[in-house]
């Protein structure tokens, strides 16, 4: 039986009724009096100098209040202190199709849209770079002049002795893997409403309030302060309900700053909501990645060495890029015991929308390569794919070769669960041709041990106020974006205080009201904000316990808080009976704030053995005056990683683990891959709310399947070919397989009640699990994702003697991918296509030639 009364129970989200009734408010649901609508003018060129912007015709239009351009807010910002390379609106030049050029604030959306067409911008096109490997050779027209070779950042790490490791390996496998670009496509388009108020003392515009769909309200406050030259204390950021983030809202999206800049110039509140197409341009998703991977294993299955060279197509700005490229290398460790690692990572700038953090940040594409190659290694030495994974387990507590501290490690149990669940031993290798099973594992951090802005500040802080009415209000900076952090903090506080969830009210993510929390990203919230809540609740409980102990004539340690009651140890059985007999012992005292204390005293003269929660609170307030508890969390120094350059990214106080088995069939006629079922086991430490954990795990696996099967951003000359949910092919319920989730609880010594990460770690394993299952089904090893029918068919045809080769685009071989291709090799454009607009970059890009027939379409 569980020792807990609130946590570990399937609990409905505290905000779920608002979502089910439509009464919950997201940013776009707000409007304020006098509010204007902002619309942004985007660049039609991938790389061009802005010679002139003339907005006079737009300003003359009735209903247009203001037009802002780059010169209205030229201060540079960026989410990383090393990557301040963005401006709210383009200054001097544009760097991708869709870059932000100007913004119109008008009294209606249609007038603002009309005004955009009246802004005259003169561009001078420059050489543009779309392929990261080409971009690295650039000498002229650099995307950012201070970044030679268009390389944002490169890292070269060696841990152990990889050469020695490969020398002692019996089998060494090398291969190039390419994972194409994917984006978050959260259901809620980005939205920001910015409003200034006039300061009563000075009589001039003063404080700024911003409502925004953000995962990081405190970073937004910080960046607004940089760009607007305002003190942070004068900026209030409020995060209403957020309709999904997945990383898309974990940094500052231009519209968040543009809305504030426009509101300042227009002297009126401005709301900007992106269209879906703009959301795709804003992007910040997972970059196209080339992974050249080499793995050495011995005949007994032990991995001796891994070498990876990773090139990421980062887009036009740094964004989270430096962190992404570091995660890709650092998280080669901490899943298996790998004694020797070499890592060379290149984050490259190209003239495309910036890539950033997306669920499974940095690990996913490298994990796809690694788990696929491990499968190949197992096949070469004749070992079962599940067995080779079991052969290479870590032995925690331990430090990995790259200095990651691992304490709780549920991977063995995860593998066991999915192997049993999928009847792996009975079915693997015994299914008819065309059907197969594949296994893969992955892991992720429970928050980064080092925050983006290096400081000794705690990463999470929480205040709790307990009042005379017996209500508990939690003030937390944690940003609930649908993952359920508000529910999590309520559960943790209720568990500690021994009160019911109904007493708890959560005030979250409002920089005026709540103490600092650095945001919802890298799966840090349960671990860090959960720990801060735990400590705040313990502090409040201590005050109550001290007062109650006096009344009960015992020591505070002898008190038990549970089920809205407080009692003395030993009186437990008796009180349990009494509780049933007289459930409302506090009766009318409940909520009678004014008379409560007096009545209480009269009624309760003498020593008591048990009290209701309200009585306990009133007793404590009589002695303490006010009842508040504060708590904070900062990761301990020994979890903060090695001292090497870039060693700050990757370390986490705890890691989650995941193992998955995919059951797929491949139609050899059409190339279509159908996933029948996924068994997914996730080690999340203690599951504080199993329904939320399962939701996060299933959602992660599903998103991984999207990247595995059909989701892909398709580019042509820097223009996104599929900027809509339909063309991006987000799966509906019909295309989505059953996903069976197993929760594995390796209680972490440092997590709140032992809890760890649950929201991201399962994503990465889904892709290689499917790749490995496809290999099991039809014997093709797809090294380029997603595994679309075109790729599957091309690989099948190349195997088949005498069959006509499927030439979708030049040099297309999904089993042996060379470099990136326009079209991504997925969509097949035959013929000349539609007549191009004069401003189409393909028409004006210097040196562009018409596509050859070979490149344009299939010869099939």
């Amino acid at each position: 039986m569980s020792d807990f009364s609130v946590i570990g129970k399937r609990t409905a989200m505290v905000d779920s009724s608002g979502k089910a009734t439509g009464l919950g408010k997201y940013t776009d649901d707000f409007s304020v009096p006098g509010m204007l609508i902002g619309k942004i003018l985007h660049s039609p060129y991938p790389h061009a100098r802005i010679k002139k912007i003339d907005a006079s015709r737009a300003l003359a239009l009735d209903g247009v209040v203001a037009v802002v351009t780059g010169s209205d807010a030229p201060n540079k910002y960026g989410i990383l202190p090393v990557g301040h390379d963005e401006t709210a609106l383009a200054v001097e030049k544009v760097r991708y199709v869709g870059d932000n050029v100007a913004c119109v604030a008008a009294i209606s959306e249609s007038i603002a849209e009309k005004a955009l067409e009246l802004i005259d911008v003169e561009y001078e096109p420059m050489q543009a770079y779309f392929d990261p490997e080409d971009s690295m050779k650039a000498t002229t027209d650099l995307i950012h002049p201070e970044k030679p070779g268009n390389v944002e950042k490169d890292y070269h790490h060696v841990f152990g002795d990889p050469d020695q490791g490969f020398a002692e390996s019996d089998v060494v496998i090398e291969g190039r893997y390419i994972a194409n670009e994917v984006t978050h496509a959260a259901m809620e388009p980005h939205c920001t409403l910015a409003s200034f108020e006039i300061d009563s003392i000075t009589g001039h515009p003063g404080r700024l309030t911003v409502w925004s769909s953000t995962q990081v309200p405190y970073y937004l406050q910080h960046k607004l302060s940089i760009v607007l030259d305002m003190p942070m204390s004068q900026i209030r950021v409020i995060k209403p309900l957020v309709g999904g983030g997945f990383g898309a809202k974990s940094e500052i999206i231009p519209l968040e700053i543009i809305a504030a800049v426009a509101a300042r110039k227009a002297q009126a509140p401005v709301k900007i909501t992106y269209t879906r197409e703009e959301v795709f341009w804003a992007h910040r998703g997972r970059p196209r990645t080339i992974v050249d991977l080499k793995t050495g294993v011995k005949k007994d299955g032990s991995i001796r060495a891994v070498a990876a060279r990773v090139v990421q197509d980062g887009g036009a700005y740094c964004s989270y890029g430096v962190v992404t490229i570091l995660y890709s290398g650092a998280l080669l460790g901490a899943l298996y015991d790998i004694p020797n690692i070499r890592y060379d990572g290149y984050r490259v700038l190209t003239n495309k929308p910036a890539c950033g953090a997306m669920r499974g940040h940095g690990t996913v594409n490298v994990r796809f390569a690694f788990e696929s190659q491990l499968d190949e290694a197992a096949a070469r030495i004749g070992m079962d794919p599940a067995a080779i994974r079991n052969r290479n387990l870590l032995k925690p507590p331990c430090l990995t070769v790259n200095n990651l501290r691992v304490r709780s490690y549920g991977l063995p149990e995860c593998i066991e669960k999915v192997v049993t669940g999928s009847r792996w031993a009975e079915r693997k290798g015994k299914l008819p041709r065309g059907r197969g099973l594949g296994i893969a594992c992955s892991h992720y951090v429970s928050g980064a041990a080092n925050s983006i802005i290096r400081s000794d500040m705690p990463h999470s802080t929480v205040n709790i106020k307990v009042d005379r009415d017996g209500g508990v209000v939690i003030y937390t900076g944690a940003s609930d974006i649908g993952q359920g952090s508000d529910t999590m903090v309520a559960q943790v506080a209720a568990e500690v205080l021994g009160c019911s969830m109904a007493r708890i009210r959560v005030i979250a993510a409002d920089t005026d009201l709540t103490p600092v929390d650095i945001g919802s990203y890298s799966s840090r919230v349960t671990f860090m904000n959960g720990n801060a809540t735990l400590r705040a609740a313990q502090a409040a409980k201590k005050l109550i316990a001290e007062a109650v102990a006096k009344r009960m004539n015992c020591s505070p340690e002898d008190l038990i808080f549970s089920g809205d009651k407080v009692w003395k140890k030993g009186a437990a059985e008796e009180s349990a009976v009494a509780a049933v007999a007289a459930p409302t012992v506090s009766g009318h005292v409940d909520g009678q704030i004014l008379r409560g204390s007096v009545q209480q005293k009269r009624k309760d003269e003498g020593v008591k053995e048990r009290m209701s929660f309200e009585e306990a609170v009133v007793t404590a307030m009589d002695i303490q005056g006010t009842l508040t508890g504060v708590g904070s969390y900062a990761p301990p120094p020994d979890a903060r990683g090695g001292k090497h350059k870039g060693g700050g990214v990757g370390p986490s106080p705890a890691y989650s683990y995941s193992a998955q088995v995919a059951d797929v069939s491949v139609d050899e006629e059409t190339g279509e891959v159908t996933v029948h079922k996924i068994w997914a086991a996730h080690d999340c430490g203690r599951a504080l709310n199993p329904v939320a954990v399962e939701g996060q795990v299933i959602g992660s696996v599903w998103m991984g399947l999207g990247q595995a099967l059909q989701e892909e951003m398709v580019w042509k000359h820097g223009l996104l070919m599929n900027p809509s949910l339909l063309e991006y092919r987000s799966a509906s319920g019909v295309e989505s397989p059953d996903i069976e989730c197993y929760i594995v609880e390796s209680i972490d010594p440092e997590g709140p009640f032992g809890a760890k990460e649950a929201s991201e770690g399962s994503l990465a394993a889904a892709i290689p699990a499917v790749a490995n299952a496809i290999f099991d089904a039809v014997g093709i090893r797809l090294r380029e994702s997603p595994f679309t029918p075109e790729r599957v068919l091309a690989a099948l045809r190349s195997k088949k003697a005498g069959a006509k080769k499927l030439q979708l685009t030049r040099n297309f071989d999904p089993e042996n991918p060379g470099s990136f291709r326009e079209h991504g090799g997925s969509l097949c454009f035959k013929g000349k296509g539609p007549v191009r607009h004069a401003l189409d970059p393909a028409m004006v890009r210097p040196g562009t030639t018409a596509d050859s027939a070979e490149e344009m379409g299939g010869a099939d």
Binding site: R10, A12, M13, D15, S16, S17, G18, K19, A20, T21, G22, L23, G24, K25, Y26, D28, D29, S31, H184, A185, A186, M187, E188, P189, L241, V242, G243, G244, G245, F246, T273, T275, R276, E277, I481, G482, Q483, G484, V691, A692, E694, G695, Q696, I698, G699, V701, W702, M703, S724, L725, L726, S730, S732, G733, V734, S736, D738, I739
Partner: protein
Amino acid sequence: MSKILITLNVNGRSHEIACEPNTLLLDCLRQDLGLTGSKRACDDSSCGACTVQIDGVPMLSCALLAVSCQGQRITTIEGVAEHGSLSALQKAYSDWGGSQCGYCTPGFMMTVNALLSETPDPTDEQIGAALSSNLCRCTGYVQMIQAIKAAIRAEQEGRAAKRT
């Protein structure tokens, strides 16, 4: 474009609204009536977040002109709760994790609600076919389908959906 006066029956109440003839029903509901439960998410009628019921039939309010809905019964997510409490379906969505970020939830509610009033005991295929009109990026649909089935059981047994 000058405005015209129209009358819309929304959730059983009549509203007189002055709007431009090209105003979408979605914008009219959200901006003129303040019924912000119906969401805009895709701009190309592919996601279903704006689904409302017109005379009981689930339709995309982003693909309808407000003027064309006069004289019809419009039901939005704000009109779904029963007797001031959550309907069985809404309760089941809460209990089973049917919504995470919740942005797609109103649209799904309107779709599933219509399915269940037509077909009180749908097969898995019928549920799948109905859900295919809406997109969700959080849940992977698994818990959503569990919630729908729980709601059907609860309705059949005449009790509130409760996770046991």
